[in-house]
Protein backbone atom coordinates (compact mmCIF):
# COMPACT_ATOMS: atom_id res chain seq x y z
CA UNK A 1 0.00 0.00 0.00
CA UNK A 2 2.72 2.43 0.99
CA UNK A 3 4.63 1.47 -2.14
CA UNK A 4 1.76 2.41 -4.42
CA UNK A 5 1.26 5.67 -2.58
CA UNK A 6 4.86 6.64 -2.87
CA UNK A 7 5.24 5.87 -6.58
CA UNK A 8 3.89 9.13 -8.04
CA UNK A 9 5.61 11.13 -5.33
CA UNK A 10 8.91 9.57 -6.13
CA UNK A 11 8.56 10.66 -9.74
CA UNK A 12 7.67 14.22 -8.79
CA UNK A 13 10.60 14.55 -6.46
CA UNK A 14 13.14 13.05 -8.81
CA UNK A 15 13.24 16.30 -10.75
CA UNK A 16 14.09 18.28 -7.64
CA UNK A 17 17.34 18.89 -5.88
CA UNK A 18 19.18 15.78 -4.75
CA UNK A 19 19.35 16.56 -1.05
CA UNK A 20 15.64 17.19 -0.79
CA UNK A 21 14.63 13.95 -2.44
CA UNK A 22 17.00 11.97 -0.29
CA UNK A 23 15.39 13.43 2.80
CA UNK A 24 11.99 12.60 1.41
CA UNK A 25 13.04 9.03 0.76
CA UNK A 26 14.33 8.66 4.28
CA UNK A 27 11.09 9.89 5.78
CA UNK A 28 9.14 7.62 3.47
CA UNK A 29 11.07 4.64 4.70
CA UNK A 30 10.31 5.60 8.27
CA UNK A 31 6.64 6.15 7.64
CA UNK A 32 6.46 2.96 5.63
CA UNK A 33 6.37 0.81 8.73
CA UNK A 34 3.16 2.09 10.36
CA UNK A 35 1.23 1.69 7.13
CA UNK A 36 1.94 -2.00 6.95
CA UNK A 37 -1.28 -3.71 7.76
CA UNK A 38 -2.20 -7.31 8.41
CA UNK A 39 -5.13 -9.31 7.07
CA UNK A 40 -7.65 -7.65 9.35
CA UNK A 41 -6.51 -4.18 8.56
CA UNK A 42 -5.03 -3.55 11.99
CA UNK A 43 -1.95 -1.44 11.63
CA UNK A 44 0.85 -3.58 12.97
CA UNK A 45 2.88 -2.01 15.71
CA UNK A 46 6.31 -1.16 14.44
CA UNK A 47 8.71 -1.81 17.29
CA UNK A 48 10.64 1.44 16.89
CA UNK A 49 7.74 3.87 16.75
CA UNK A 50 5.11 2.62 19.19
CA UNK A 51 3.83 6.07 20.22
CA UNK A 52 3.54 7.50 16.72
CA UNK A 53 1.87 4.31 15.59
CA UNK A 54 -0.83 4.57 18.24
CA UNK A 55 -1.62 8.14 17.24
CA UNK A 56 -1.85 7.62 13.49
CA UNK A 57 -5.50 6.43 13.45
CA UNK A 58 -6.50 9.67 15.16
CA UNK A 59 -4.86 11.98 12.60
CA UNK A 60 -7.84 11.96 10.25
CA UNK A 61 -10.54 12.58 12.92
CA UNK A 62 -8.43 15.40 14.40
CA UNK A 63 -7.89 16.92 10.97
CA UNK A 64 -11.63 16.84 10.30
CA UNK A 65 -12.32 18.61 13.61
CA UNK A 66 -9.68 21.23 12.77
CA UNK A 67 -11.11 21.92 9.32
CA UNK A 68 -14.58 22.03 10.84
CA UNK A 69 -13.47 24.57 13.47
CA UNK A 70 -11.75 26.64 10.82
CA UNK A 71 -14.82 26.62 8.57
CA UNK A 72 -17.02 27.78 11.47
CA UNK A 73 -14.66 30.48 12.74
CA UNK A 74 -14.22 32.00 9.27
CA UNK A 75 -17.99 32.00 8.80
CA UNK A 76 -17.84 29.65 5.84
CA UNK A 77 -20.41 27.47 7.62
CA UNK A 78 -23.09 29.44 9.53
CA UNK A 79 -23.48 28.31 13.14
CA UNK A 80 -27.21 27.68 12.55
CA UNK A 81 -26.25 24.88 10.18
CA UNK A 82 -23.32 23.46 12.11
CA UNK A 83 -21.94 24.77 15.40
CA UNK A 84 -18.19 24.97 15.88
CA UNK A 85 -16.52 22.08 17.73
CA UNK A 86 -15.74 24.47 20.59
CA UNK A 87 -19.46 25.26 20.93
CA UNK A 88 -20.26 21.55 20.96
CA UNK A 89 -17.63 20.98 23.62
CA UNK A 90 -19.07 23.85 25.65
CA UNK A 91 -22.58 22.35 25.40
CA UNK A 92 -21.13 19.03 26.49
CA UNK A 93 -19.44 20.64 29.47
CA UNK A 94 -22.69 22.32 30.58
CA UNK A 95 -24.63 19.05 30.30
CA UNK A 96 -21.87 17.26 32.11
CA UNK A 97 -22.08 19.71 35.01
CA UNK A 98 -25.85 19.37 35.24
CA UNK A 99 -25.48 15.58 35.32
CA UNK A 100 -27.88 15.19 32.42
CA UNK A 101 -25.23 13.93 30.02
CA UNK A 102 -23.93 11.19 32.30
CA UNK A 103 -27.46 10.06 33.11
CA UNK A 104 -28.47 9.81 29.47
CA UNK A 105 -25.27 8.04 28.42
CA UNK A 106 -25.71 5.59 31.28
CA UNK A 107 -29.33 4.87 30.30
CA UNK A 108 -28.36 4.28 26.66
CA UNK A 109 -25.37 2.16 27.61
CA UNK A 110 -27.52 0.07 29.95
CA UNK A 111 -30.17 -0.52 27.27
CA UNK A 112 -27.56 -1.39 24.69
CA UNK A 113 -25.75 -3.91 26.85
CA UNK A 114 -28.83 -5.61 28.31
CA UNK A 115 -30.46 -5.87 24.87
CA UNK A 116 -27.19 -7.14 23.43
CA UNK A 117 -26.82 -9.75 26.16
CA UNK A 118 -30.34 -11.06 25.70
CA UNK A 119 -30.33 -11.13 21.88
CA UNK A 120 -26.71 -12.23 21.68
CA UNK A 121 -27.09 -15.17 24.02
CA UNK A 122 -30.28 -16.40 22.34
CA UNK A 123 -28.61 -16.07 18.92
CA UNK A 124 -25.51 -17.85 20.18
CA UNK A 125 -27.61 -20.66 21.66
CA UNK A 126 -29.53 -21.15 18.42
CA UNK A 127 -26.30 -20.98 16.43
CA UNK A 128 -24.76 -23.72 18.59
CA UNK A 129 -27.88 -25.89 18.54
CA UNK A 130 -28.38 -25.64 14.79
CA UNK A 131 -24.68 -26.04 14.04
CA UNK A 132 -24.39 -29.18 16.15
CA UNK A 133 -27.76 -30.85 15.64
CA UNK A 134 -29.31 -31.63 12.29
CA UNK A 135 -32.72 -32.02 13.89
CA UNK A 136 -32.61 -28.61 15.54
CA UNK A 137 -31.45 -27.02 12.27
CA UNK A 138 -34.26 -28.64 10.30
CA UNK A 139 -36.76 -27.57 12.89
CA UNK A 140 -35.85 -23.91 13.31
CA UNK A 141 -33.57 -22.68 10.55
CA UNK A 142 -36.26 -22.03 7.94
CA UNK A 143 -38.35 -20.03 10.41
CA UNK A 144 -35.34 -18.01 11.51
CA UNK A 145 -34.35 -17.28 7.92
CA UNK A 146 -37.86 -15.95 7.22
CA UNK A 147 -37.85 -13.74 10.30
CA UNK A 148 -34.36 -12.55 9.40
CA UNK A 149 -35.60 -10.99 6.19
CA UNK A 150 -37.99 -8.67 8.02
CA UNK A 151 -36.11 -5.43 8.77
CA UNK A 152 -36.33 -5.35 12.55
CA UNK A 153 -36.90 -1.59 12.58
CA UNK A 154 -40.10 -2.18 10.60
CA UNK A 155 -41.49 -3.67 13.80
CA UNK A 156 -41.31 -0.32 15.64
CA UNK A 157 -45.03 0.51 15.25
CA UNK A 158 -45.97 -2.96 16.46
CA UNK A 159 -43.47 -2.81 19.31
CA UNK A 160 -44.85 0.54 20.47
CA UNK A 161 -48.34 -0.95 20.45
CA UNK A 162 -47.14 -3.95 22.43
CA UNK A 163 -44.79 -2.37 24.93
CA UNK A 164 -45.62 1.33 24.73
CA UNK A 165 -42.48 3.44 25.04
CA UNK A 166 -41.35 1.35 27.96
CA UNK A 167 -37.80 0.06 28.48
CA UNK A 168 -38.84 -3.36 27.21
CA UNK A 169 -39.61 -1.91 23.76
CA UNK A 170 -36.01 -0.76 23.30
CA UNK A 171 -34.57 -3.95 24.76
CA UNK A 172 -36.75 -6.04 22.45
CA UNK A 173 -35.62 -4.15 19.36
CA UNK A 174 -31.93 -4.25 20.29
CA UNK A 175 -32.15 -7.95 21.15
CA UNK A 176 -33.86 -8.70 17.84
CA UNK A 177 -31.26 -6.67 15.95
CA UNK A 178 -28.21 -8.39 17.43
CA UNK A 179 -29.77 -11.86 17.33
CA UNK A 180 -29.22 -12.52 13.62
CA UNK A 181 -25.59 -11.56 13.06
CA UNK A 182 -24.60 -13.62 16.11
CA UNK A 183 -26.82 -16.54 15.11
CA UNK A 184 -25.66 -16.63 11.49
CA UNK A 185 -21.96 -16.32 12.25
CA UNK A 186 -21.98 -18.84 15.07
CA UNK A 187 -23.77 -21.30 12.80
CA UNK A 188 -21.38 -20.61 9.94
CA UNK A 189 -18.36 -20.92 12.24
CA UNK A 190 -19.43 -24.30 13.55
CA UNK A 191 -20.35 -25.66 10.13
CA UNK A 192 -17.00 -24.67 8.63
CA UNK A 193 -14.73 -26.22 11.27
CA UNK A 194 -12.16 -28.34 9.42
CA UNK A 195 -13.70 -31.86 9.18
CA UNK A 196 -10.18 -33.33 9.17
CA UNK A 197 -9.65 -31.91 12.66
CA UNK A 198 -12.95 -33.36 13.83
CA UNK A 199 -11.95 -36.77 12.43
CA UNK A 200 -8.61 -36.42 14.20
CA UNK A 201 -10.39 -35.64 17.48
CA UNK A 202 -12.58 -38.71 17.13
CA UNK A 203 -9.61 -40.96 16.32
CA UNK A 204 -7.88 -39.76 19.47
CA UNK A 205 -10.90 -40.73 21.54
CA UNK A 206 -12.38 -37.34 22.36
CA UNK A 207 -15.85 -37.45 23.85
CA UNK A 208 -18.54 -35.19 22.35
CA UNK A 209 -18.00 -32.64 25.10
CA UNK A 210 -14.25 -32.60 24.62
CA UNK A 211 -14.62 -32.42 20.86
CA UNK A 212 -16.77 -29.32 21.27
CA UNK A 213 -14.51 -27.69 23.82
CA UNK A 214 -11.18 -28.47 22.17
CA UNK A 215 -11.98 -28.52 18.45
CA UNK A 216 -15.37 -27.14 17.40
CA UNK A 217 -15.72 -24.08 19.61
CA UNK A 218 -12.17 -22.76 19.14
CA UNK A 219 -12.54 -23.39 15.41
CA UNK A 220 -15.77 -21.39 15.27
CA UNK A 221 -14.45 -18.53 17.39
CA UNK A 222 -13.03 -16.32 14.60
CA UNK A 223 -16.40 -16.42 12.85
CA UNK A 224 -18.27 -15.76 16.11
CA UNK A 225 -16.18 -12.61 16.57
CA UNK A 226 -17.13 -11.38 13.11
CA UNK A 227 -20.77 -11.78 14.20
CA UNK A 228 -20.05 -9.98 17.45
CA UNK A 229 -18.65 -6.94 15.69
CA UNK A 230 -21.54 -6.80 13.23
CA UNK A 231 -23.93 -7.09 16.14
CA UNK A 232 -22.29 -4.22 18.02
CA UNK A 233 -22.85 -1.93 15.03
CA UNK A 234 -26.48 -2.99 14.73
CA UNK A 235 -26.91 -2.57 18.48
CA UNK A 236 -26.12 1.17 18.35
CA UNK A 237 -28.11 1.71 15.16
CA UNK A 238 -31.22 0.11 16.64
CA UNK A 239 -30.89 2.01 19.89
CA UNK A 240 -30.54 5.39 18.17
CA UNK A 241 -33.65 4.82 16.11
CA UNK A 242 -35.66 3.43 19.01
CA UNK A 243 -34.66 6.25 21.35
CA UNK A 244 -35.33 8.89 18.74
CA UNK A 245 -38.85 7.64 18.14
CA UNK A 246 -40.06 6.46 21.50
CA UNK A 247 -38.21 7.30 24.70
CA UNK A 248 -38.19 9.59 27.71
CA UNK A 249 -34.48 9.32 28.41
CA UNK A 250 -31.24 8.32 26.72
CA UNK A 251 -28.99 9.88 24.11
CA UNK A 252 -31.51 9.66 21.29
CA UNK A 253 -34.12 11.32 23.47
CA UNK A 254 -31.61 14.04 24.39
CA UNK A 255 -31.01 14.74 20.71
CA UNK A 256 -34.73 14.90 19.92
CA UNK A 257 -35.39 17.24 22.85
CA UNK A 258 -32.55 19.49 21.70
CA UNK A 259 -34.05 19.60 18.20
CA UNK A 260 -37.34 20.84 19.70
CA UNK A 261 -35.52 23.77 21.24
CA UNK A 262 -33.19 24.32 18.26
CA UNK A 263 -30.16 23.43 20.39
CA UNK A 264 -28.15 22.27 17.40
CA UNK A 265 -24.92 22.00 19.43
CA UNK A 266 -26.52 19.34 21.66
CA UNK A 267 -27.78 17.46 18.59
CA UNK A 268 -24.25 17.37 17.18
CA UNK A 269 -22.91 16.43 20.59
CA UNK A 270 -25.11 13.36 20.87
CA UNK A 271 -24.15 12.26 17.35
CA UNK A 272 -20.47 12.54 18.28
CA UNK A 273 -21.06 10.57 21.48
CA UNK A 274 -22.65 7.79 19.43
CA UNK A 275 -19.53 7.72 17.27
CA UNK A 276 -17.29 7.46 20.32
CA UNK A 277 -19.41 4.76 21.98
CA UNK A 278 -19.40 2.76 18.74
CA UNK A 279 -15.64 3.03 18.57
CA UNK A 280 -15.37 1.98 22.21
CA UNK A 281 -17.48 -1.13 21.64
CA UNK A 282 -15.42 -2.03 18.58
CA UNK A 283 -12.13 -1.58 20.48
CA UNK A 284 -13.41 -3.76 23.30
CA UNK A 285 -14.35 -6.57 20.93
CA UNK A 286 -10.98 -6.26 19.19
CA UNK A 287 -9.17 -6.51 22.50
CA UNK A 288 -11.17 -9.62 23.32
CA UNK A 289 -10.36 -11.00 19.89
CA UNK A 290 -6.64 -10.44 20.36
CA UNK A 291 -6.83 -12.10 23.77
CA UNK A 292 -8.65 -15.25 22.68
CA UNK A 293 -7.29 -15.64 19.15
CA UNK A 294 -3.61 -15.25 19.99
CA UNK A 295 -2.97 -18.52 18.14
CA UNK A 296 -4.28 -17.03 14.88
CA UNK A 297 -1.51 -15.96 12.46
CA UNK A 298 -3.32 -12.64 11.88
CA UNK A 299 -2.96 -11.71 15.54
CA UNK A 300 0.61 -12.77 16.09
CA UNK A 301 3.22 -10.09 16.48
CA UNK A 302 6.19 -10.87 14.36
Amino acid sequence: MSLIDSLPRRKAFSSEVDAGSREENASKQKSGAPFRSDRNGNSSSAPKLPKVDGLIPWIVPLAIVLVWQLACVTGFVPSRVLPAPTDVALAGWKLLLSGELIRNIWVSFWRASIGFLIGGSIGFAFGLANGLSQLSAKLTDTTLQMVRNIPHLALIPLVILWFGIDESAKLFLVALGVFFPIYLNTLHGIRTVDPQLIEMGRIYGMTDGELFRRVIFPGALPSIFVGLRFALGIMWLTLIVAETIAATSGLGYMAMQAREFMLIDVVVLSILIYALLGKLADSASRALERLTLSWHPAFQKK
Binding site: Q196, M200, P297, Q300
Partner: protein
Amino acid sequence: MQEALRFQPVDAEPVDRSDIRVQARQLRRGPEAATRGLSLTIRGLRKAFGDNEVLRGIDLHIPSGQFVAIVGRSGCGKSTLLRLIAGLEAPTAGNIAFGEQPRAQDVRVMFQEPRLLPWARVLSNVEVGLGRERSSADAQARAERALVEVGLADKRTQWPSVLSGGQKQRVALARALVSQPRVLAFDEPLGALDALTRISMQQLLERVWRDQGFTAILVTHDVAEAVALADRVLVIEDGRIAQDVTIDLPRPRRRGSAELATLEGEILKHLLEGSEDTQ
Protein backbone atom coordinates in the same frame (compact mmCIF):
# COMPACT_ATOMS: atom_id res chain seq x y z
CA MET B 1 26.40 -40.11 25.44
CA GLN B 2 23.53 -41.94 23.85
CA GLU B 3 21.08 -39.53 25.40
CA ALA B 4 23.01 -36.54 24.16
CA LEU B 5 22.87 -37.89 20.62
CA ARG B 6 19.15 -38.47 20.83
CA PHE B 7 18.45 -34.86 21.71
CA GLN B 8 19.87 -33.67 18.38
CA PRO B 9 17.22 -32.36 16.01
CA VAL B 10 16.78 -34.80 13.16
CA ASP B 11 17.33 -32.11 10.55
CA ALA B 12 20.92 -31.86 11.64
CA GLU B 13 21.68 -35.59 11.54
CA PRO B 14 24.66 -36.46 9.42
CA VAL B 15 23.71 -39.49 7.33
CA ASP B 16 26.99 -41.37 7.68
CA ARG B 17 26.99 -41.54 11.45
CA SER B 18 23.59 -43.13 11.68
CA ASP B 19 24.86 -46.73 11.77
CA ILE B 20 26.75 -46.16 15.04
CA ARG B 21 23.68 -44.60 16.55
CA VAL B 22 21.38 -47.39 15.47
CA GLN B 23 23.67 -49.99 17.04
CA ALA B 24 23.69 -48.01 20.24
CA ARG B 25 19.94 -47.86 20.18
CA GLN B 26 19.58 -51.59 19.61
CA LEU B 27 21.58 -52.15 22.77
CA ARG B 28 19.27 -49.86 24.67
CA ARG B 29 16.13 -51.43 23.31
CA GLY B 30 14.48 -53.39 26.06
CA PRO B 31 13.32 -56.99 25.57
CA GLU B 32 9.64 -55.96 25.66
CA ALA B 33 10.10 -53.46 22.82
CA ALA B 34 10.64 -56.20 20.27
CA THR B 35 7.29 -57.79 21.02
CA ARG B 36 5.30 -54.57 21.34
CA GLY B 37 3.89 -54.63 17.81
CA LEU B 38 0.61 -56.36 17.04
CA SER B 39 0.32 -58.87 14.24
CA LEU B 40 -2.44 -58.40 11.76
CA THR B 41 -4.42 -60.80 9.61
CA ILE B 42 -6.75 -59.67 6.86
CA ARG B 43 -9.10 -62.13 5.16
CA GLY B 44 -11.23 -61.56 2.07
CA LEU B 45 -11.40 -57.82 2.65
CA ARG B 46 -13.69 -55.91 0.30
CA LYS B 47 -14.76 -52.31 0.33
CA ALA B 48 -17.20 -50.61 -2.01
CA PHE B 49 -18.39 -47.01 -2.11
CA GLY B 50 -21.75 -47.32 -3.82
CA ASP B 51 -21.15 -49.13 -7.11
CA ASN B 52 -17.46 -48.40 -7.02
CA GLU B 53 -15.63 -51.42 -5.62
CA VAL B 54 -12.31 -50.12 -4.34
CA LEU B 55 -10.92 -53.24 -2.67
CA ARG B 56 -11.72 -56.61 -4.25
CA GLY B 57 -10.54 -59.26 -1.86
CA ILE B 58 -7.38 -58.63 0.12
CA ASP B 59 -5.73 -61.48 2.01
CA LEU B 60 -2.74 -60.50 4.03
CA HIS B 61 -0.80 -61.41 7.13
CA ILE B 62 1.53 -58.89 8.74
CA PRO B 63 3.74 -60.35 11.51
CA SER B 64 4.17 -58.25 14.63
CA GLY B 65 6.74 -55.47 14.36
CA GLN B 66 7.05 -55.64 10.58
CA PHE B 67 7.45 -52.47 8.53
CA VAL B 68 5.15 -52.83 5.52
CA ALA B 69 4.94 -50.31 2.70
CA ILE B 70 1.93 -50.21 0.42
CA VAL B 71 2.48 -48.66 -3.00
CA GLY B 72 0.27 -48.27 -6.02
CA ARG B 73 -1.04 -45.70 -8.44
CA SER B 74 -3.46 -43.11 -7.09
CA GLY B 75 -6.97 -44.46 -6.75
CA CYS B 76 -5.81 -48.08 -6.42
CA GLY B 77 -7.33 -48.36 -2.96
CA LYS B 78 -4.18 -48.19 -0.85
CA SER B 79 -5.46 -45.36 1.36
CA THR B 80 -8.79 -47.14 1.76
CA LEU B 81 -6.96 -50.26 2.95
CA LEU B 82 -5.12 -48.15 5.51
CA ARG B 83 -8.32 -46.46 6.71
CA LEU B 84 -9.94 -49.88 7.12
CA ILE B 85 -7.00 -51.14 9.17
CA ALA B 86 -7.15 -48.02 11.33
CA GLY B 87 -10.86 -48.54 11.85
CA LEU B 88 -11.87 -45.29 10.15
CA GLU B 89 -14.10 -47.14 7.67
CA ALA B 90 -16.11 -50.31 8.00
CA PRO B 91 -15.39 -53.12 5.50
CA THR B 92 -18.12 -54.23 3.07
CA ALA B 93 -17.00 -57.84 3.45
CA GLY B 94 -14.18 -59.77 5.09
CA ASN B 95 -12.43 -59.01 8.33
CA ILE B 96 -9.31 -57.63 9.93
CA ALA B 97 -8.01 -59.40 13.02
CA PHE B 98 -5.22 -58.23 15.27
CA GLY B 99 -3.05 -60.67 17.20
CA GLU B 100 -4.64 -59.37 20.40
CA GLN B 101 -7.71 -57.26 20.90
CA PRO B 102 -6.25 -53.74 20.59
CA ARG B 103 -7.21 -50.92 22.93
CA ALA B 104 -8.20 -47.61 21.33
CA GLN B 105 -4.75 -46.09 21.83
CA ASP B 106 -2.96 -49.13 20.36
CA VAL B 107 -3.72 -48.21 16.75
CA ARG B 108 -2.72 -44.74 15.60
CA VAL B 109 -2.81 -43.00 12.23
CA MET B 110 -0.62 -40.28 10.81
CA PHE B 111 -2.02 -38.40 7.83
CA GLN B 112 -0.53 -36.46 4.96
CA GLU B 113 -1.72 -33.26 6.68
CA PRO B 114 -0.43 -32.73 10.21
CA ARG B 115 -3.99 -32.00 11.49
CA LEU B 116 -2.72 -30.07 14.49
CA LEU B 117 -5.13 -27.93 16.47
CA PRO B 118 -4.05 -24.40 15.51
CA TRP B 119 -5.35 -23.01 18.82
CA ALA B 120 -3.38 -25.38 21.03
CA ARG B 121 0.32 -25.06 21.75
CA VAL B 122 2.66 -27.79 20.54
CA LEU B 123 2.72 -29.61 23.88
CA SER B 124 -1.08 -29.66 24.22
CA ASN B 125 -1.32 -30.95 20.67
CA VAL B 126 0.90 -33.86 21.63
CA GLU B 127 -1.18 -34.48 24.77
CA VAL B 128 -4.23 -34.97 22.52
CA GLY B 129 -2.56 -38.22 21.44
CA LEU B 130 -2.93 -39.71 24.91
CA GLY B 131 -6.61 -40.30 24.27
CA ARG B 132 -8.48 -41.16 27.46
CA GLU B 133 -5.27 -40.96 29.50
CA ARG B 134 -5.08 -37.22 28.77
CA SER B 135 -6.08 -36.28 32.29
CA SER B 136 -3.61 -38.59 34.04
CA ALA B 137 -0.94 -37.01 36.23
CA ASP B 138 2.00 -37.91 34.01
CA ALA B 139 0.32 -36.73 30.79
CA GLN B 140 2.55 -33.70 30.42
CA ALA B 141 5.73 -35.63 31.16
CA ARG B 142 4.81 -38.25 28.56
CA ALA B 143 4.03 -35.58 25.96
CA GLU B 144 7.36 -33.93 26.66
CA ARG B 145 9.17 -37.25 26.22
CA ALA B 146 7.45 -37.75 22.87
CA LEU B 147 8.54 -34.27 21.77
CA VAL B 148 12.12 -35.07 22.75
CA GLU B 149 11.82 -38.24 20.70
CA VAL B 150 11.11 -36.21 17.54
CA GLY B 151 13.67 -33.53 18.46
CA LEU B 152 11.23 -30.67 19.06
CA ALA B 153 11.52 -30.25 22.84
CA ASP B 154 12.38 -26.56 22.41
CA LYS B 155 9.17 -25.84 20.49
CA ARG B 156 6.78 -27.03 23.20
CA THR B 157 5.24 -23.61 23.90
CA GLN B 158 4.96 -22.50 20.26
CA TRP B 159 1.79 -22.20 18.22
CA PRO B 160 1.63 -24.65 15.30
CA SER B 161 1.34 -21.77 12.80
CA VAL B 162 4.95 -20.73 13.37
CA LEU B 163 6.36 -24.21 12.63
CA SER B 164 7.64 -25.36 9.24
CA GLY B 165 5.86 -28.14 7.35
CA GLY B 166 8.41 -30.74 8.48
CA GLN B 167 8.20 -29.61 12.11
CA LYS B 168 4.40 -29.79 12.06
CA GLN B 169 4.64 -33.36 10.77
CA ARG B 170 7.09 -34.20 13.55
CA VAL B 171 4.61 -32.85 16.11
CA ALA B 172 1.94 -35.04 14.50
CA LEU B 173 4.35 -37.99 14.80
CA ALA B 174 4.94 -37.20 18.47
CA ARG B 175 1.17 -37.10 18.99
CA ALA B 176 0.83 -40.52 17.34
CA LEU B 177 3.71 -41.94 19.39
CA VAL B 178 2.80 -40.57 22.80
CA SER B 179 0.31 -43.33 23.59
CA GLN B 180 2.94 -45.92 22.61
CA PRO B 181 0.83 -47.53 19.88
CA ARG B 182 1.34 -51.12 18.79
CA VAL B 183 0.24 -50.46 15.21
CA LEU B 184 1.07 -47.19 13.49
CA ALA B 185 -0.49 -46.47 10.09
CA PHE B 186 1.03 -43.76 7.92
CA ASP B 187 -1.06 -42.31 5.10
CA GLU B 188 1.54 -40.64 2.87
CA PRO B 189 2.87 -38.67 5.84
CA LEU B 190 5.77 -37.22 3.88
CA GLY B 191 3.89 -36.46 0.68
CA ALA B 192 3.78 -32.71 1.19
CA LEU B 193 7.39 -32.24 2.30
CA ASP B 194 10.39 -31.09 0.28
CA ALA B 195 13.05 -33.64 -0.72
CA LEU B 196 15.59 -32.92 2.04
CA THR B 197 13.00 -32.79 4.83
CA ARG B 198 11.57 -36.05 3.48
CA ILE B 199 14.90 -37.80 3.85
CA SER B 200 15.41 -36.66 7.44
CA MET B 201 11.78 -37.58 8.23
CA GLN B 202 12.31 -41.04 6.75
CA GLN B 203 15.31 -41.50 9.02
CA LEU B 204 13.23 -40.33 11.96
CA LEU B 205 10.42 -42.78 11.13
CA GLU B 206 12.89 -45.63 10.83
CA ARG B 207 14.52 -44.66 14.13
CA VAL B 208 11.29 -44.51 16.15
CA TRP B 209 10.10 -47.74 14.56
CA ARG B 210 13.30 -49.52 15.60
CA ASP B 211 13.13 -47.92 19.06
CA GLN B 212 9.53 -48.71 19.82
CA GLY B 213 8.95 -51.89 17.86
CA PHE B 214 5.42 -51.14 16.67
CA THR B 215 3.98 -52.66 13.51
CA ALA B 216 4.29 -49.98 10.83
CA ILE B 217 2.10 -49.71 7.75
CA LEU B 218 3.18 -46.99 5.36
CA VAL B 219 1.10 -45.95 2.36
CA THR B 220 3.21 -44.05 -0.13
CA HIS B 221 3.41 -43.28 -3.83
CA ASP B 222 7.17 -43.02 -3.64
CA VAL B 223 8.67 -46.42 -4.44
CA ALA B 224 12.17 -45.29 -3.41
CA GLU B 225 10.81 -44.38 0.02
CA ALA B 226 9.06 -47.74 0.28
CA VAL B 227 12.16 -49.83 -0.51
CA ALA B 228 14.37 -47.68 1.73
CA LEU B 229 12.17 -48.06 4.80
CA ALA B 230 10.14 -51.24 4.60
CA ASP B 231 10.77 -54.92 5.29
CA ARG B 232 8.15 -55.72 2.72
CA VAL B 233 6.53 -53.81 -0.12
CA LEU B 234 2.99 -54.56 -1.26
CA VAL B 235 1.93 -53.37 -4.69
CA ILE B 236 -1.80 -52.87 -4.97
CA GLU B 237 -3.48 -52.83 -8.33
CA ASP B 238 -7.19 -52.76 -9.09
CA GLY B 239 -8.10 -53.43 -5.48
CA ARG B 240 -5.91 -56.54 -5.15
CA ILE B 241 -2.39 -57.24 -3.98
CA ALA B 242 -0.48 -57.57 -7.25
CA GLN B 243 3.02 -58.01 -5.82
CA ASP B 244 4.47 -58.85 -2.44
CA VAL B 245 8.17 -58.03 -2.37
CA THR B 246 10.36 -58.79 0.63
CA ILE B 247 13.17 -56.28 1.03
CA ASP B 248 15.84 -58.35 2.67
CA LEU B 249 18.54 -55.73 2.93
CA PRO B 250 20.48 -54.89 6.09
CA ARG B 251 19.69 -51.67 7.92
CA PRO B 252 20.60 -48.89 7.89
CA ARG B 253 20.22 -48.88 4.14
CA ARG B 254 22.41 -46.61 2.11
CA ARG B 255 20.33 -44.24 0.07
CA GLY B 256 21.16 -44.62 -3.63
CA SER B 257 22.79 -48.05 -3.29
CA ALA B 258 22.64 -50.42 -6.24
CA GLU B 259 20.42 -53.00 -4.49
CA LEU B 260 17.80 -50.45 -3.56
CA ALA B 261 17.84 -49.03 -7.07
CA THR B 262 17.37 -52.49 -8.59
CA LEU B 263 14.40 -53.27 -6.34
CA GLU B 264 12.89 -49.86 -6.97
CA GLY B 265 13.31 -50.35 -10.71
CA GLU B 266 11.55 -53.73 -10.65
CA ILE B 267 8.58 -52.45 -8.69
CA LEU B 268 8.31 -49.33 -10.84
CA LYS B 269 8.46 -51.43 -13.99
CA HIS B 270 5.58 -53.52 -12.74
CA LEU B 271 3.56 -50.42 -11.87
CA LEU B 272 4.22 -48.79 -15.24
CA GLU B 273 3.32 -51.95 -17.18
CA GLY B 274 0.05 -51.98 -15.31
CA SER B 275 -0.67 -48.42 -16.32
CA GLU B 276 0.08 -49.14 -19.99
CA ASP B 277 -2.42 -52.00 -19.95
CA THR B 278 -5.18 -49.71 -18.89
CA GLN B 279 -4.43 -47.04 -21.46
